[in-house]
């Protein structure tokens, strides 16, 4: 059984397993590149949008985290920053924008309005943008300080580095397609 040929085969399997390990490193390399060159699409709707300008501005300078290339086209960006209240009227627009983004894509919900509706428990305010799109990082505050937003971006960078599983994203179905399962919580499977 232990002919030289078999030994050779075992050796090549070992080699292959080593090369598999190398693939994993390539993955890490990709993650390194990805997390340090996030191209955000600022979806600023309200007060948080003004604070997001400060994050981009000279003092807090998002460029230090490699995320200064602000794209207003969803097709050119991989990070959606939802900054501000999402109303019921705005929800379909937000879903459309999210769908237009290419993979891999991430979402930061900036501020309490985007995260949960905030103190607007009101008839025209969506109670959190995670009702319609999958959210990776929630940044609390009304509006959050620029430091908090930077922390949110660093948290996301760590998630990309660790390749944290994102079941809320994997199980997401567009509420436009599923037709009316609008209020399904993020992370649960929605029957098509």
């Amino acid at each position: 059984m232990n002919s030289p040929n078999t030994q050779l085969a075992t050796q090549s399997v070992d080699d292959m397993s080593r090369s598999l390990a190398f693939t994993s490193k390539l993955d890490a390399l990709a993650a390194w590149g990805q997390r340090n060159s996030l191209w955000p699409m600022p979806y600023g709707t309200a007060c948080c949008g003004i604070e997001l300008m400060s994050v981009m501005g000279p003092k807090y300078d998002l460029a230090r985290f490699g995320a200064e290339v602000v794209r207003f086209s969803p097709r050119q960006s991989d990070l959606l920053i939802v900054a501000g209240t999402i109303t019921e009227k705005m929800a379909p627009v937000l879903v459309r924008i999210y769908e237009q983004m290419l993979e891999p894509k991430y979402v930061i919900s900036m501020g309490v309005c985007a995260s949960s509706g905030g103190f607007y428990r009101a008839y025209h305010v969506l109670q959190g943008c995670d009702k319609v799109i999958p959210v990776d990082v929630y940044v609390p505050g009304c509006p959050p300080t620029p430091e908090a937003v930077l922390d949110g971006i660093m948290t996301l960078q760590k998630m990309i580095k660790d390749r944290t599983p994102r079941p809320w994203k994997d199980h997401w179905h567009s509420p436009m397609l599923t037709g009316g399962s609008h209020a399904s919580p993020a992370g649960t499977v929605v029957a098509p």
């Binding site: 600023g44 709707t45 501005g57 008839y123 300080t145 609008h182 209020a183």
Partner: protein
């Protein structure tokens, strides 16, 4: 404060001669607001008379009020302003559910969106309105949310968006598109649309044949929230109206409630409010001028100006801990006193920002490209500006010298030495010219105020209005009891109503407050300055180039928070 406590005799007798003795009911509220109550049939004639013969040339606001237990359920309330005498009058009429009142668009073009809003919120029908559609709520929304029987948190989800559509004025083709022209949709998520504005246009080449705005993408139900929260808890909501200059909304709201309560705040609180307001005016104009330049491709001005905005944020942070949404005022004064040395810090900032304003003048106003892009573009005449209900920098850019700080001074503005810049052409360039000059004048006011801050308390100490200080709450039983009583019972202004306005960065910010003596406002209507301004957009840009429309939106400084509320 001197109040004319009786209805003006001349106006009253003129109206009686013209319309007879039985037609109207004239009253003056305890706070000095003049009110004419009329039957709904006589509204157009009365308003036309008030405009053409009595000098009330501004229609500031139209709104509805719901009294579900009354036979005729709704009030339609018109607020008029007389430019010459700086006086106001309120006209009220009653409409039953399902009933209608004649539109006043033929008298003031500016009634358009206000009437649509009253229709959307209450279901009041304005007969003869060419385009009576929903304006703030989404198109699948059923019901009228500001009616008292609509639950504040009854959300209705929406999955679709209206296609490109246009106003149904008789001479136009309504929603019918013409195959010769290119329909284009900009926004609501578009960098030039400042977050939430949606503009639809039909283009012939690059020329706009007609345009339309779709708003309401940030309708956060401020007015319903105000009705369901106690008076002091409304203050954080006001922060988020015009979030570029949050303290001004705090001041406008608190001033309204204080006037209804009949209290005057201490001199120190007045001066602190003036300083806060003028700093806010500077940073609001910073955003307006900065993003205005940005929309025309001038990125440097934006980054440069934001340095000064950060400095003001630092001042706010020192004062109260928050940067943007400060909630610094309370009914009765300020939330707390300024820390030691704060006024000196403000004076230092004044020196820094003066240099910044000079630099931005060179960067933008003296920039050849900027001049070519803005001078003579989409001008608005004096008469049109008044008819649309323009106020603030845009009205002054059109050549009308109206600033409430001069015409109806409050908080001692009459004692400060400052000028009101007035433009000549009403074009985009003049708007920025006025704004940048206003920043200089605000710096002047802040300097004067900071050098003469009165001593004394920062708030009144009426135990039925203001919470006791924390050291008293925890330190003695009386303080604890007062705290408990005010929290449980709530701040309760006397039953009545008031319209009060302040000069915010964008123009007249009015609050129409109705109290029924309970702990929550019965109705709080905000008169947002950019609502009146933005409704003129489709008319102003008609015939202009598409790129000029972008410049026009930026120059109008439409803040979605106060536009949609």
């Amino acid at each position: 404060m001197s109040l004319a406590m009786n209805f003006p005799e001349v106006l009253k007798s003129d109206l009686i001669i013209k319309f007879g003795t039985t037609e109207f009911k004239f009253t003056t509220t305890p706070v000095g607001d003049h009110v004419i109550e009329a039957k709904k049939e006589s509204i157009p004639a009365l308003l036309r008379y008030l405009k053409e013969y009595a000098g009330f040339n501004f229609l500031m606001d139209v709104c509805g009020v719901d009294y579900p237990n009354r036979e005729k359920r709704f009030d339609v309330v018109y607020h008029l302003f007389n430019l010459k005498e700086s006086s106001r009058v309120r006209v009220k009429t009653q409409v039953a559910e399902g009933g209608s009142v004649q539109t006043v668009i033929p008298i003031w073009k500016g009634a358009d969106w206000f009437e649509r809003e009253a229709f959307d919120m209450f279901g009041i029908i304005f007969e003869g309105h060419p385009n009576l559609r929903k304006i703030l709520t989404h198109h699948e929304f059923v019901g009228h949310p500001l009616r008292k029987d609509y639950e504040a948190d009854a959300q209705q989800h929406c999955l679709t968006m209206l296609p490109v559509h246009f106003n149904n004025t008789p001479e136009q083709r309504g929603d019918q598109l013409d195959s010769r022209f290119v329909p284009i949709n900009i926004g609501p998520s578009h960098p030039a649309m400042h977050g939430t504005l949606r503009v639809m246009a039909e283009l012939d080449g690059e020329t706009i044949v007609r345009a339309n705005c779709d708003i309401g993408f940030l309708h956060r139900c401020f007015e319903k929230m105000a009705e369901t929260h106690p008076y002091n808890q409304v203050i954080p909501f006001t922060d988020r109206l015009n979030y570029c200059s949050a303290p001004m909304n705090n001041v406008g709201y608190c001033k309204t409630v204080e006037r209804l309560l009949g209290v005057e705040i201490p001199a120190r609180a007045q001066t602190m409010r003036v300083i806060l307001c003028e700093l806010s005016r500077i940073i609001d104009h910073v955003v307006s001028v900065g993003t205005g330049g940005l929309d025309l491709g001038a990125l440097t001005g934006f980054f440069h100006l934001f340095t000064y905005r950060e400095k003001v944020y630092n001042l706010f942070e020192k004062l109260c801990g928050a940067r943007l949404t400060v909630s610094m005022t309370r009914v009765g004064g300020m939330a707390q006193d300024a820390p030691d040395g704060w006024f000196t810090d403000v004076l230092t900032f004044c020196d820094e920002v003066s240099d910044g304003i000079d630099e931005i003048t060179k960067l933008l106003l003296e920039n050849k490209i900027f001049i070519k892009r803005t001078q003579g573009i989409c001008p608005v005449s004096k008469e049109d500006a008044i008819a649309w209900g323009y106020t603030g920098p845009l009205l002054r850019a059109s050549g009308v010298n109206l600033d409430l700080r001069k015409s109806n001074p409050y908080y001692g503005y009459e004692n400060y030495d400052f000028d009101i810049p007035v433009g000549a052409n009403g074009d985009i360039y003049d708007r920025y010219l006025v704004r940048i000059e206003e920043m200089r004048q605000s710096v002047r006011i802040v300097r004067q105020a900071c050098k003469n801050v009165p001593g004394g308390d920062y708030t009144i100490r009426d135990k039925g209005i203001v919470l006791p200080e924390k050291k008293d709450v925890y330190g003695n039983i009386e303080g604890l009891m007062n705290h408990f009583m005010l929290v449980i019972k709530g701040l309760r202004p006397p039953a009545g109503e008031i319209y009060d306005a302040t000069e915010a960065a964008n123009g007249e910010l009015g609050f129409y407050l109705i109290s029924d003596g309970s702990a929550n406002p019965y109705r709080l209507k905000v008169r947002p300055p950019c609502f009146a301004i933005y409704q003129s957009f489709p008319t102003v840009v008609q015939g202009a180039m598409l790129a000029d429309a972008i410049a026009t939106v930026a120059s109008m400084n439409v803040i979605a928070g106060e536009l949609d509320r």
